[in-house]
């Protein structure tokens, strides 16, 4: 694939110079990023900052090094170069950017002012976005298999973990927000994961049997799917709010309910709301997966003398599994995002920082909540996509677009 592209590129290059158009667009974005400020220095976390260019934000050798790496990567991007070279170049620039923003944090932080904040500015984000685009484009061309994608994800996580551990970014504003709230950050992370994963497990435990029942009894199928569709149209903050009263009533009137953590506000209504939102994708995909099992497979199973139960567990469910896991992927990514809203009713999670940050107009605090949320959702999507691909039988994989 990469080789044939390179050969084609070579042939075209011999006839007439043709730049890589995707690379050209990405380079324009990167050049735009160079024109914008690289970092801002704020006297405290809320006041507006002073913009600094790359030349002002980095020591001379540092800025020359960064610009040189960037120039090489842009050149590689604009030429019809092989995908692995583009991948290597873009990853190198991303690492250089990560180092540079850390160094600029150290350089720009005025000594003796503990309230001063150094934050990445538009130029940094645009450069990082351009290089992430180049990475994504190179990965798309290389078409890594499921294991390759998960390995790339793991490598990214290790690099980020290493940078965070090393203290390189400790002078940046997001990590200063983190330093003040390290304990509550991890409590929020635990609550967020508990909400998103716990409601998913509950939704699968209830949704799978409901889906199987809907498949077996077509009469109830439309009613169940319509009811679940209606639940989806209720806005999340309203659903969270609506559950406060009934759960509060249960906590007061059902003996033992309070002991297992059921109460009006807090995690319980958020958990139930996420569970209700999760049911539709699980049930709908279970029904769709079972409906797509070929009649010949079922006939063969019946011909072999399998009982209904054997046919369900040994034929239908295994064949429907990729579609069911696709539903689970949708639910998990959606839940990780929706769990942010739980903070509005005291359910905890990363939303606490998002809404506190909005309230205090402190963008660094908003970022402390949104960056881990987006990272979690992205990681969940990559991992579950890989699982779906691994589980898909060859026939399913061939018919996929």
């Amino acid at each position: 694939m990469a080789l044939s592209a390179a050969i084609q590129g070579g042939r075209a290059g011999a006839a007439r110079f043709r730049p890589d158009r995707i690379g050209l667009v990405i380079s324009l974005v990167a050049l735009g990023g160079l024109c914008l400020p690289f970092a801002t220095v704020k006297p405290n976390r809320i006041l507006a900052g002073v913009a600094k260019t790359i030349l002002e934000a980095l020591p001379q050798t540092g800025s020359i090094l960064l610009l040189a790496v960037l120039f090489v990567a842009i050149t590689i991007a604009c030429l019809r170069s092989p995908a692995w070279l583009r991948l290597g170049a873009s990853v190198l620039v991303l690492l250089a950017l990560a180092g540079a923003i850390g160094v600029s944090g150290i350089v720009l932080t005025p000594s003796g002012n503990p309230y001063a904040r150094v934050a990445p500015a538009a130029g940094f984000w645009l450069l990082a976005f351009a290089m992430a685009l180049l990475t994504a484009d190179a990965l798309t061309r290389l078409r890594p298999g499921p294991f390759g994608r998960v390995a790339a994800l793991a490598a990214t996580a290790v690099v980020f973990g290493f940078i965070l551990k090393s203290g390189l970014w400790d002078n940046l504003s997001i990590l200063k927000e983190y330093a003040v709230r390290a304990d509550s950050f991890w409590a929020a992370a635990a609550a967020h994961v508990e909400l998103a994963l716990g409601s998913l497990v509950a939704a699968v435990a209830f949704g799978l049997p409901i889906g199987i029942l809907c498949h077996r009894v077509p009469k109830i199928r439309d009613a169940v799917l319509n009811a679940l569709n209606i639940v989806q149209t209720v806005p999340s903050i309203a659903l969270f709010g609506l559950l406060i009263a009934p759960l509060g009533w249960i906590a007061v009137h059902v003996p033992g309910a309070k002991a297992i953590g059921i109460q009006g506000i807090g995690m319980a209504p958020a958990f139930v709301a996420l569970f209700l939102y999760s049911l539709l994708p699980v049930v709908a995909n279970t029904v769709a997966g079972l409906a797509a099992v070929s009649p010949s497979a079922n006939d063969a199973a019946r011909g072999m003398g399998m009982t209904e139960r054997e046919r369900l567990f040994q034929v239908e469910l295994p064949l429907a599994l990729p579609v069911i896991i696709t539903g689970i992927r949708i639910v998990l990514v959606q839940n990780i995002g929706l769990a942010t809203i739980a903070a509005l009713i005291g359910g905890g999670g990363f939303g606490v920082f998002v809404f506190q940050g909005i309230g205090q107009t402190a963008i660094d605090l908003v970022l402390l909540g949104t960056v881990p949320t987006v990272a979690l959702a992205f990681a969940a999507a990559v991992i579950l996509d890989a699982v779906v691909e691994l589980l898909s039988t060859p026939s399913v994989r061939d018919s996929a677009p």
Binding site: R21, I22, V25, L133, A136, D137, L139, T140, R141, N229, I230, Q232, T233, V234, P235, S236, I237, A238, L239, G241, L242, I244, A245, V333, I336, G337, L338, T340, I341, L344, I345, G351, V354, F355, G357, I358, T361, I363, V366, L367, G369, T370, T373, V374, A377, F378, A380, A381, P401
Partner: protein, 246 residues
């Protein structure tokens, strides 16, 4: 027969919605059991009808902009001159869908300030994805022999796009717009956490003053409108699909 049965409840739902927005006080008795300590059963910090109109306006503007841009982008990357951008565009859409709408909303605030603008940006960006994806699907599932026939009768690329591809893809594109509208209706309520004038203001007022009646009326109005729009657009899709012979 089944058509009448599915049509009547929707008309009743629409009538209920209009009556509620026209004269909310008629329904005060219905909502009073949900309040405590003599709290007002009907939202009293503004007009429900005006909030509903603001809510619908934000969703309409964002969806219209998202539809125009998403369809244009999908057409661009499926033309011969833009085809090399297609794989990258697909992966970008997949990555974009993992970003939660609240994150987009919160991150737009520092750029635009509080109010309607961050909500519009969040709804626009989040609405792009389903429409773009469905337009791509719709354009790429136009049967090859139909395209061949269009070429055979001497249609130019532009004529093929406007007279063959887009009409055939219209039902699937509309399905994407429908999905986008339903998501936007619900997401717009979160916009009220950044001071946008939407029905979310009613729900949030209920959350902060512990008034269940406010939460119910805000949630029900949004849900009912979403269901009605969902049904209307699905009806339009069936109509278009029938006209396209699908």
């Amino acid at each position: 027969m089944t058509r009448v049965w599915s049509f009547l409840p929707r008309m009743a739902l629409l009538a209920f919605l209009i009556a509620f927005l026209w004269h909310p006080a008629w329904f005060a008795g219905l909502l009073r059991p949900l309040t405590e300590n003599g709290a007002p059963p009907i939202y009293d910090q503004g007009s429900l009808a005006l909030l509903t109109l603001d809510h619908l306006a934000i969703v309409a503007v964002a969806t219209l902009a998202a539809s125009l841009i998403a369809i244009a982008l999908a057409v661009l990357v499926t033309r011969p001159s833009g085809r090399e951008f297609l794989p990258l565009a697909r992966s970008l859409v997949n990555i974009g869908q993992t970003v939660p709408p609240v994150a987009v909303l919160a991150l737009a605030v520092p750029m635009t300030g509080f109010g309607e603008k961050p909500t519009l940006i969040a709804l626009f960006l989040y609405g792009l994805l389903p429409i773009f994806e469905n337009t791509l699907t719709g354009l790429s599932t136009v049967p090859a022999n139909v395209m061949e026939a269009a070429r055979g009768v001497g249609m130019t690329g532009r004529q093929r796009l406007w007279q063959v591809e887009l009409p055939l893809a219209a039902p699937i594109i509309l399905a994407g717009i429908r999905l986008s509208v339903v998501i936007s209706m619900a997401t717009a309520t979160i916009g009220s956490t950044v001071a946008a004038s939407t029905l979310g203001a009613v729900i949030i007022a209920g959350l902060t003053s512990n008034n269940l009646a406010f939460i119910v009326q805000g949630g029900v109005i949004v849900g009912v409108i979403a269901i009605l729009i969902f049904d209307a657009l699905r009806g339009l899709e069936t109509l278009l699909a029938r006209r396209a012979g699908g």
